[in-house]
């Protein structure tokens, strides 16, 4: 399907053209002209109201059941995970992300299970649903852009165990450690703080891309189906 870099370029170009056009004809300040600008953006992408024209149907997939194994850690991935989106926001292949989180869980002696969450694309709610599906009550939510949360079934959605909000700065080592920590929560062991980098510029730098990836994920939601077992690849 559509690679996101192309889309970013498309939109950036559309905005630049529009700004240039407006400068030539009407030197009014940007604030007053903003509604016009936004319509212009939609116009330049005329004929498209979705990022991916086709919606994948998951109706035939097996629905995820609540696990009974107390050693289980459920990884809940986003709707577009390994389908419409293949890489995180910073270009790490999602196959590798999943493999490392699973390896981290396995190294600590626990059992990983992967489900795809089609109810919501909010990472906290995804993680909470994963936790509620998990036999141990511990779950991990991973959005297709790479944002990750470790959750526990008894907590409020927004009060999680651990949140890794800056997806552009994550690497595979971090994902491995996330898997390990989730497994340590299951065992009731003391978790090791995961070192994370923080870059205040990552937000402006990645905002457009993050929004597009989130839309691409959200438009694949299918609440009718809910949660499915996800063992693809």
């Amino acid at each position: 399907m559509q690679v996101n870099e192309d889309l970013v370029k498309q939109i950036t170009n559309a905005v630049l053209t529009e700004m240039k056009h407006r400068k030539d004809t009407n030197p009014a300040p940007v604030t007053s002209g903003s509604p016009a600008a936004s319509t212009a953006v939609t116009q330049s992408l005329a004929g498209r109201d979705r990022i991916n024209p086709v919606k994948t149907s998951y109706a035939s997939y097996p629905r995820a059941k609540k696990g009974t194994d107390p050693k289980e850690v459920v990884i809940g991935v986003g709707a577009a995970f390994q389908k419409e989106i293949q890489k995180t926001i910073c270009g790490i292949p999602l196959d590798d992300v999943l493999k490392n989180v699973k390896a981290g869980i396995e190294e600590e002696g626990m059992v990983p299970r992967v489900v795809k969450i089609l109810d919501t694309s909010d990472v906290c709610f995804m993680a909470l649903e994963a936790a509620k599906t998990s036999g141990s009550g511990i779950g991990i939510g991973i959005q297709s852009k790479g944002t990750t949360v470790i959750h526990q079934k008894d907590l409020y959605p927004l009060s999680n165990l651990e949140l890794f909000p800056q997806a552009p700065l994550m690497d595979l080592e971090t994902y491995r450690k996330i898997g390990k920590n989730a497994a340590k929560y299951v065992k009731g062991e003391q978790v090791v703080p995961i070192p994370c980098t923080n870059d205040p510029m990552s937000r402006p730098k990645y905002q457009v891309k993050a929004a597009l990836m989130h839309i691409a994920e959200t438009e694949q939601l299918d609440p009718e189906v809910g949660i499915i077992e996800w063992e693809e690849k």
Binding site: E107, Q152, D154, E189
Partner: protein, 605 residues
């Protein structure tokens, strides 16, 4: 009607008590407060804490400091305490002869012997020779497992050493199960082709073969002479969950005894003793020396420097030219400090022997006059220095319901443990001993390897619990406690301290049982030892049997377990011993301040 304030400046806290003196000489107590002491006890810097404490006390009854008509300062005992730690041994590994560590997740179980073979050189392996394969972290667990599975038919692979934390991952993918040790950071230091033995213990157990010299001899085919040289290796592997021992010709584990310095006792029976001999010998020498005039240490050793530093600190307090500053008591306590072994390949630590020392320095008098003058100037209130600390403390202690003369008090503070006995006719015998709460904090800090005195203080003060789920935790006494509101996820799976105003998380990964044991041992080593020492020296005829009542006062008497420990110990001597309850309301604190206010009534009569 006038308001009288008693002020007690201690090594760590300043306590005040305010009472109303009626015209008929009776005293009616109104309020009390305490603040941490500012500056060294007995210096003008103390006035800040005094004012803060008075402010707090007065505001709690809705009045101001200016309402006080007289402030009575205690003639603080001219003693200050200090502590120091001296490591006595160090362990060195030469020629990378062993790796013993506790990776959280080794895999497989049992022992294996073979030649070290790096995974790069696997093609050079000869069929029939047992090998222990060492793999760097440039190989992923899938690659390692694939390579090992491939060569399993041709080569005899007995065990694996990994750099990355992937032992379970590799083991899950192996067809033939073998012991695997991971997280060996300096795997590049492993010599190729050397005979090695590895062992992974069963869950819940520790290594058995490699912590036994004869076990190592069996695995590596050593003769009697060689077996003798591996004894330190076996000893240092006791308690580990996994271990590697290499047979290298020059390889050894050495325990060096560090030069720790001597202590010179200038006493009735002068003596000198080396710190290496341990706490028991030092304390015996101190006890045998009789009345001690002064203690000094060998110059340019840690103990020498510490003793000089304490004396210099006291010298700054007493400016009188002929100041007579002497160290009159020390308390030595054996302890163990976890220290990183030099030459280790996997960041192993070893518990090294150490001695913790508390010293007590004495001068003729503290410059209390200066404090009194400064207070008087700042507050415009009459300030008087009254009474000796121990007498005031006894007077305050007598307000505990159920006490009578003759009475012994044990004042356990932060810097010193003081004891006093008042006979029925009012004669007071007293003593000051080195070592109290601060020494306990230092022992906890060292033995747990915390590197942070503040958290050690808190471990000393509060009981522990382990948060097992978001709704329940297990207390250190085994009791389960359930909570209505879910516990903050930051505490999930953690060992926490139950402080008055919430929980405190212990960052270092330590089992709760270990912390409890270290904390109790530290308290017992310091307070039980000192209580006996102190009471013996003030008891009539130096016999504990001549004391019938002991009231525990001071900050450390507030502790949740020290009074019980002492009660158990004193029960054997038929001594009634318990935590004081000053004025029936204050608990063990505020004895001296209360005594100061009471003595005002006595003086007027």
């Amino acid at each position: 009607m006038s308001l009288i304030a008693g002020v007690d400046i201690g090594n760590s806290t300043t306590e005040v008590c305010v009472g109303e003196a009626a015209a008929d000489g009776t005293i009616h107590f109104l309020t009390s407060a305490s603040r941490p002491t500012t500056g060294t006890k007995g210096t003008v810097a103390n006035t800040h804490a005094i004012k803060a404490a008075l402010n707090r006390a007065m505001s709690s009854i809705g009045r101001t400091i200016s309402d006080i008509s007289l402030i009575r300062l205690n003639e603080a005992a001219p003693v200050i305490g200090d502590t120091a730690m001296e490591t006595l041994t160090e362990t060195i590994i030469t020629d990378s002869s062993m790796i013993g560590h506790n990776p959280s997740t080794p895999a497989g179980a049992g022992q294996a012997v073979g030649e070290i073979l790096l995974i790069d050189n696997l093609s050079r392996g000869i069929p029939g020779t047992p090998y222990i394969v060492a793999a760097d972290d440039s190989y992923s667990y899938e690659e390692v497992a694939a390579i090992l599975n491939q060569s399993a038919d041709t080569l005899d692979i007995a065990g694996v050493i990994l750099k990355a934390d992937e032992a379970v991952l590799v083991e899950n993918r192996l067809r033939k199960k073998i012991p695997i040790i991971d997280e060996v950071a300096r795997i590049d230091k492993l010599p190729d082709g050397v005979l090695a033995a590895i062992e992974v213990a069963l869950p819940g157990q520790t290594v058995r073969m490699l912590s036994n010299p004869y076990g190592i001899a069996t695995l590596l085919h050593l003769n009697a002479e060689e077996t003798r040289t591996v004894t330190p290796i076996a000893k240092s592997l006791i308690g580990k969950r996994s271990a590697v021992v290499l047979k290298t010709p020059g390889g050894n584990v050495r325990e060096n005894v560090l030069p720790a310095g001597e202590i010179y006792l200038n006493a009735e029976n002068s003596a000198s003793i080396n710190l290496d001999e341990g706490a028991a010998e030092i304390m015996k020498a101190v006890a045998d020396a009789g009345k001690i005039h002064d203690i000094s240490g060998q110059p340019d050793t840690n103990v020498g420097n510490m003793l000089t530093r304490i004396k210099r600190g006291m010298g700054e307090l007493d400016h009188t030219p002929d100041a007579d500053i002497r160290i009159t008591d020390i308390l030595a306590v054996d302890t163990l400090a976890p220290v990183l072994i030099s030459g280790a390949l996997a960041g192993e630590t070893c518990l090294e022997k150490a001695v913790g020392i508390a010293a007590m320095v004495k001068t003729q008098h503290l410059p209390m006059r200066e404090i009194a003058d400064k207070l008087k100037m700042e507050l415009g209130t009459d300030v008087r220095i009254a009474g000796v600390e121990a007498v005031m403390a006894s007077l305050g202690a007598l307000t505990t319901p159920g006490t009578k003369l003759p009475l012994a008090i044990l004042d356990m503070g932060g810097g010193s443990t003081d004891a006093a006995v008042i006979s029925e006719d009012g004669r007071v015998t007293m003593t000051h001993q080195a070592g109290a709460g601060e020494l306990v904090s230092m022992l906890i800090e060292t033995e747990l390897g915390l590197g942070d005195r503040h958290i050690a203080e808190q471990i000393k003060k509060y009981p522990l619990a382990k948060v097992e789920s978001l709704f329940h935790m297990r207390m250190e006494n085994g009791q389960m406690t359930f909570v209505d509101e879910s516990i903050d996820p930051r505490f999930y799976g953690r060992v926490i301290l139950l402080a008055e105003d919430g929980y405190i998380r212990i960052e270092k990964e330590l089992p709760m049982e270990k912390i409890v044991q270290v904390r109790r041992d530290a308290k017992r080593k310091v307070f039980v030892t000192n209580a006996f020492r102190a009471l013996k020296s003030v008891a009539p005829g130096q016999d504990l049997k001549n004391i019938s009542n002991v009231v525990l006062v001071g900050g450390s008497a507030e502790d949740f377990e020290i009074p019980e420990m002492l009660m158990e110990e004193f029960a054997d001597y038929r001594i009634v011993c318990g935590r004081g309850n000053i004025r029936g309301t204050e608990g063990p604190r505020n004895a001296v301040a209360t005594g100061l206010v009471l003595s005002y009534a006595g003086e007027r009569q």
